[in-house]
Symmetry: C2
Subunit: 154 residues, 2 copies
DNA sequence: CGCACCTTTTACGTTTACGTAAATCCTATA
DNA sequence: TATAGGATTTACGTAAACGTAAAAGGTGCG
C-alpha cells in the first residue's frame, strides 16, 4: 500500500507500516505541494509550529499538518510574525469551542490591519515623494541637456 | 564668536577656532535638528555617507553635511538602502553637470517606484485576505455564542 | 555493487540599520 | 575640586526567517 494517492505519485520509495488510515507524505513532497523549502518546514517545526509524525527519523506529514501549514502561510501572507501565528495556533483545543483562540486571532487581526493600513499610507507617501524627486531630477536633466551651464546639487 | 546662531542656543559650551566662515554644529545639535540619534550620525559617517570636519576628535557639521543628511533621510524615506544612497551621492561632482549622478538617481528611482507599487499591491492583497479572515472569525464567534455546538478549527 | 535520490542533524551565515553598553576624555561651572 | 554634560572609540547585540554547507545514513534500481 502506497503512502500517497496514485495521483500524486512523485517520489515515494519507502514503505511505511500501514497501520494508520491517514495519508502520509514526506518532507520533499510536502515542500513541493506548498511551495516552500525543506528548510522552511524544518524551521517551522523547530519553532513549534508543526509537529509531523516520525517513522524512525523521517518526518511524516498528515493532512492535519497540511491544514496547519496553510494557516501559517496565510498568517505570513497577511503579515503576522511566526511568533504571532504560533501564539494563535497554540490556543487551539480540539475539544472546545476555541472561543479564546478566535478572540485572540480577531484581536491580533485588528491590530495587524491597522499596521497594514499605516504601512500603506507610508508607501503612498513614499511614492509621492519619490515621484516629486523624479520630476525634479528630470527637470534638472533636461535643463542640463538644453543649456550647458553650471549649477548645484548632491 | 559662537558657533551657532543665537536662536538655536542649546548646548554649546566649547569654543572653536573661528577661522572658517561656516556654521559648525556638533553632533548633539545635529542629531536634535534632524531627529536622529548620535549613533545614527556616526553610523552614517562610518558608512561613508557623511564626512564632518574635526576639531581634534570632535565632529563638526557644516551646512554641506546638513544637505547631505537631508538627502539621506529623503532616500531612506522613499525606501532606498543606505548603500543606494551612497552610490548616488558618491557620484556628485561639484565641478560638473552631474548628469551621470542624475541619471543614476533617476534609474534607481524608477526601479524603486516599481518596488513600492508592488509592495502596495501586496499590502492591499494582505488587507483583503485579512479582512476576509476576520469576517470568518467573527462569523464563527457569533455561531459559537448562539449555538454551543462542536466544530473544527485550528 | 554503486550511483542517484531522499532524508537527517548541527550549526554558522545572511541582511539592514542601527541599539547598547563600556571605558575614557574634555570642560565649563558651582 | 567635584559634578554634570557632552564627546570619543570599540565592539558585541538585535530582529526574522530562513540559506547554506557539512557530514552522514537509508533505499530501490540497473
Amino acid at each position: 500500500m502506497k503512502l500517497v494517492s496514485p495521483g500524486e505519485a512523485a517520489a515515494n520509495t519507502n514503505d511505511i507500516p500501514a497501520e494508520a488510515g491517514e495519508e502520509f507524505v514526506r518532507i520533499g513532497e510536502m515542500a513541493k505541494k506548498y511551495g516552500v523549502t525543506l528548510r522552511t518546514l524544518r524551521f517551522y517545526e523547530d519553532k513549534g509550529l508543526l509537529n509531523p509524525h516520525r517513522d524512525g527519523s523521517t518526518r511524516l506529514y498528515t493532512r492535519r499538518d497540511k491544514a496547519r501549514l496553510k494557516l501559517i502561510l496565510l498568517g505570513r501572507k497577511v503579515g503576522f510574525s511566526l511568533r504571532d501565528v504560533k501564539q494563535m495556533m497554540d490556543l487551539y483545543d480540539p475539544t472546545g469551542t476555541n472561543t479564546k483562540q478566535l478572540r485572540l486571532a480577531l484581536d491580533k487581526s485588528e491590530k495587524q490591519l491597522v499596521r497594514l493600513q499605516k504601512q500603506r499610507a507610508l508607501i503612498d507617501d513614499a511614492i509621492g515623494e519619490l515621484s516629486n524627486s523624479m520630476k525634479t531630477v528630470r527637470q534638472m536633466l533636461s535643463e542640463r541637456t538644453a543649456v550647458p551651464q553650471a549649477s548645484a546639487a548632491g
